[in-house]
């Protein structure tokens, strides 16, 4: 009596694929978290004469001016490390403190300030940041811009 042909189930090992998928998930989870600390999501204005921003100065404070979040007709607000500053004096005090900390840690020139303002934000709000920098005694200020084809 001929032997019945044995049916073999087609199967493949998915273990490696699950490992790689978990690695990808962990990678994207970590990358997403790190991107939000200092840099707010906004649209920088384009400029032709802007220069490369890397490597970043050792002690730099990023001040964001985002659009579409504030109350009232201005709809712009100043955000530093996810903290909103309504008054110029408070921002000046914060920057002065950061500058003092940097000098105490050996940075003789103090801090640089980078103003990342949305292109649609009101210039009056950026003026407040500039005034706060002046009050804090910070002279080196740069304005964030999106690269534009020259």
């Amino acid at each position: 009596m001929p032997a019945k042909p044995r049916r073999e189930d087609a199967s493949f090992d998915l273990t490696s694929m699950i490992d790689v998928t978990f690695l990808l998930i962990i990678f994207f989870m970590c990358v997403t978290e790190m991107a939000h600390i200092e840099y707010e999501n906004l649209t920088l204005p384009a400029a032709h004469q802007s220069v490369k921003d890397s490597p970043a100065p050792p002690r730099r404070q990023v001040v964001n001016v985002r659009y579409g979040y504030g109350n009232g007709p201005e709809r712009s607000e100043i955000v530093v490390r996810q903290r909103v500053f309504d008054e110029t004096n408070r921002l000046a005090e914060f920057l002065r403190e950061q500058d003092r900390l940097a000098r105490r840690q050996g940075q003789a020139d103090g801090i640089d300030v980078k103003i990342r303002a949305d292109g649609r934000a009101e210039y009056q709000k950026v003026q407040q940041v500039l005034v706060a920098c002046m009050k804090a005694g910070i002279a080196r200020v740069s304005i964030g811009a999106a690269p534009s084809p020259r």
Binding site: I18, T32, H48, E74, K114, E122, Q127, L130, V131, P147
Partner: protein, 166 residues
Amino acid sequence: MAATLEERFKDPELCFTSLIDIVFLLLIFFMCASRFKQVEEKLEAFLPNDGNRTDRTLVLPPSELTIFVRDDAVMRESDSFNIKALRKATFYLGSREATPVTDVNRMLPVLQQLAETPGQRVLIALYDEQAGQDQRVPFFNVVQVVDACKAAGIANIAFQAPAQPR
């Protein structure tokens, strides 16, 4: 019916189908939720280091050009939809009575002539500084002025502080 010897010593099997489905859903979620870092550049500026002095009467250098920026939007922002991107600015070179300029490129010849003399400074100021004015100058217009100054070769660019403390 008693289990056969083969069935009794068969390796326990786990069904991974649901796990793979959930894992792929999570992966797609994080791929969509994460954003690529925007390549950024910068425009350098230097502020006068005057500490806590709020006096706006600065000693002007011998030659300085003030560029007044004015909100010249045709349409106003409404609550129903955002048309902020359509707001434009008008530029006045030297004084508020000067001929208004809407295209920044038309300022280049004046700025290039200014740049020929060393020590020139450009001061960017608002046309209407009184509190309560419904003048909202979008920041990208000011960046256009800074960009034009740098293209003309003027490195000394200053920003006038607002008239009233905020």
